[in-house]
């Protein structure tokens, strides 16, 4: 066990992966000399050199496209998008190329690349630097999708992503980088595709991922003071999606809130609500409630920014209402 930040855990995962596998290269804007806009790759260029920490021009479409080509020809690229908000300009390369190549070519070859990026609110970064766009990715066949909430998961999931034969989109949360936690970085851990039950309680199941795990846990602590005990499930990976763990708890408890920072409409929360309802309809006392981002852009004003995504208070209120 070590005390480590989410950021340092990610960095350690890259270091260990790059040491273990010569083919791993990191490619993106400011990943080398600068050490990454959020410092994840800091210092790596000193160890691994500019051939493996490849600083690029500001050319997101071609960064992802180059990673696709590199992955097809023997490297294991980690392509970094500085903000998930830049996904928009790379969606063609990500979804029409990376995600479909194995399929279109009849299984001849895969695209073992990891697209690392970060999203979410919390830094007054405004409408084009604060989004949660995982729903776009989750919708696209052929892509894996990882959204770690803890330092330990960040480490293990990134290591695992770098062994996957198919493209993985790995979305960090900008507000978590400085979070420090106890973490076990031994390689025995296997959080891939397996949800974590972060807290158990008999009254309600809260299903979530990424930063909202911590908000849900905060809400659960507050609820506990009122005698409401919540089970909090951290999905860790949205593709693959561990419905087994979710179903197991939902069938026992029958009341569910799903929480996602992304906009509500046609978002991840919709998929979770729909699937849980399909699978557990006869066990549900109430409809699955969705707690999600507002269907609005994010403002630069701290007040509006914070108000536009779920908070511990909102989760707590909603759950209280659900149980009353």
């Amino acid at each position: 066990m070590v005390q480590i930040t989410y950021r340092d855990a990610l960095r350690q995962a890259l270091i260990d992966a790059m040491e273990a596998d010569e083919r791993v290269v990191v490619i993106g804007e400011e990943v080398g000399r600068y050490g990454g806009a959020y410092g994840v790759t800091k210092g790596l260029i000193d160890t691994f050199g500019g051939d493996r920490l490849i600083d690029t021009p500001i050319s997101e479409p071609a960064i992802i496209g180059a990673a696709v080509g590199a992955a097809m020809t023997g490297l294991r690229p980690v392509a970094e998008l500085m903000y998930v908000d830049f996904l928009g300009m790379t969606m063609d390369q990500l979804t029409n190329q990376a995600a479909k190549i194995r399929y279109m070519f009849g299984g001849q070859i895969g695209v073992p690349m990891v697209l690392r990026t970060q999203g979410g609110t919390g830094r007054s970064a405004g409408a084009q630097h604060s989004q949660s766009l995982e729903a776009w990715v989750m919708h696209m066949p052929g892509l894996r999708l990882v959204m770690p909430a803890t330092a330990e998961d960040a480490y293990h999931l990134l290591r695992h992503a770098l062994t996957m034969p198919d493209p993985v989109v790995f979305i960090e949360h900008k507000a978590l980088y400085t979070r420090k936690e106890e973490a076990d970085l031994t390689t025995a851990k296997r959080p891939w595709g397996k949800a974590a039950v972060r807290r158990e309680g008999q009254d309600v199941v809260i299903v979530t991922y990424s930063r909202q795990v911590h908000y849900a846990l905060e809400a659960a602590e507050a609820l506990a003071k009122d005698g409401i005990e919540a089970t909090v499930i951290d999905l860790r990976t949205l593709n693959p999606l561990d419905m087994e763990t979710v179903i197991e708890h939902v069938e026992k408890i029958g009341r569910v809130a799903v929480v996602s920072e992304g906009p509500m409409t046609a978002g991840v929360a919709a998929e979770l609500a729909a699937r849980i309802t399909e699978e557990c309809f006869d066990f549900l006392h109430d409809p699955v409630i969705r707690i999600a981002g507002e269907d609005i852009p994010i403002s630069v004003s701290q007040e509006l920014e914070a108000g536009s995504v779920p908070s511990p208070a909102l989760i707590g209120d909603a759950v209280r209402r659900l149980l009353s």
Binding site: E29, E30, R33, Y34, A37, D55, T56, P57, I58, S59, P61, A62, D85, F86, M89, R123, S124, A125, G126, A127, Q128, H129, M264, H285, D286, P287, I289, R290, I291, A292, G293, E294, D295, I296, P297, S299, V300, S301, Q302, E303, L304, G307, S308, P310, L314, D317, A318, R321, L322
Partner: protein
């Protein structure tokens, strides 16, 4: 890294220099106050990109524009907007995320806009505002407004494919458009020679059939003159491209201490100070006495001090304003999550 081409010979009259100096000084001082706003914890976040060192680009090009012209800027656009005539108090309030700001606290430093001044918007997406000027050019041509539309962006945007798509269209359709690259030698920590093999960016523009020029930002009069030629040509249906070389004096944003560049380089870079150079020229050419310039500087300092007070005293936007402006007034606002939850939960009849 440095511009080796001769800059166009200035055709602006000496009389303009004082005006250009004043604009540059106002930008410089405003940006210094933005830095203070941040230090005092009053800014909305730390993503503030100061245009100190680049004042000649803003002042010079803006001096070539007419009131009916439109423009977009990048994330480092305070100076351009000020040169265009923005109210610095409303700018500062926006940078602080306040209701009194240009965008009611929703946009912030990277998304300032003002339709009244033809400012079609700053952008936090590198290159994101470039194609809009192609569209503005189409409007100008079809609606015969006589306006030119200018896209301002950094050297980093030279990496964005959409720039070339846009330049190709502008040339093809002979639009009244000017692409203005403010080459401050860096995109975050990446020196321009670390992002491309050929820094003669004007060659790219010419390869697409545009007029292309490069000019040294040390000389604000040269910038103004070259810009005037290109803006006039654009108005006549000959779109162009202008790269202005300068030096980014400070870090990329407020948290960046620029560890990736040597102190000597920074010091040398800061010697290329267009404000100082213009001041020296004014004195040398006897266009203004030192005392008058000092008085001007003092006046500007007071003006810009007031912007912080204004921003600090302004209220945060009301929470309910969050749901406004997603769609036009008169269209239904998005349903708040809380309202939805309340409704859904109160529906239950168990």
């Amino acid at each position: 890294m440095t511009d080796t081409r001769p800059s166009a010979s200035p055709s602006a009259s000496n009389a303009d220099l004082l005006g250009l100096y004043r604009t540059m000084r106002r930008i410089r001082t405003f940006e210094e106050r933005v830095g203070e706003l941040f230090v005092r914890g009053l800014s909305a976040g730390s993503m503030l990109h100061l245009s100190i060192g680049e004042e000649s680009a803003a002042a010079g090009v803006a001096s070539a524009m007419r009131p009916e012209d439109t423009f977009t800027t990048h994330h480092r656009g305070h100076g351009i907007f000020l040169a265009r005539g923005a109210d610095p108090s409303r700018m500062m309030a926006e940078i602080a995320g306040k209701e009194t700001g240009y965008c009611a606290g929703k946009g912030g430093s990277m998304h300032i806009a003002d339709m009244a001044l033809g400012h079609l918007g700053a952008n936090a997406i590198v290159g994101g505002g470039i194609p809009a000027v192609v569209g503005a050019g189409l409007s100008a041509k079809r609606l015969k407004t006589g306006s030119v539309s200018l896209a301002f962006f950094g050297d980093g945007a030279m990496g964005q494919g959409i720039l070339y798509e846009s330049m190709n269209m502008a040339a093809l359709w002979e639009l009244p458009v000017l692409f203005v690259c403010i080459n401050n030698q860096y995109g975050m920590g990446t020196r321009v020679d670390q992002a491309t093999r050929n820094e003669a960016f004007d060659e790219r523009a010419r390869a697409f059939g545009l007029q292309g020029a490069m000019v040294d930002g040390n000389d604000v009069e040269a910038v103004a003159a070259t810009a005037k030629d290109l803006v006039d040509a654009a108005r006549a249906g000959k779109p162009g491209f202008l790269a202005i070389s300068c030096y980014r004096f400070f870090g990329h944003a407020r948290m960046d201490k620029s560890p990736y560049r040597a102190e000597e380089e920074e010091l040398a870079g800061r010697q290329r100070d267009p404000v100082k150079i213009a001041r020296a020229a004014l004195l040398e050419r006897g266009l203004a006495p030192g005392s008058a310039l000092d008085a001007l500087d003092t006046e500007i300092a007071a003006e810009m001090d007031a912007t912080i007070d204004f921003a600090a005293a302004s209220p945060a936007p009301p929470l309910a304003s969050m749901f406004r402006d997603v769609f036009a007034v008169g269209e239904p606002e998005p349903e708040p999550v809380r309202t939805r939850l309340d409704r859904v939960l109160s529906k239950e009849i168990r």
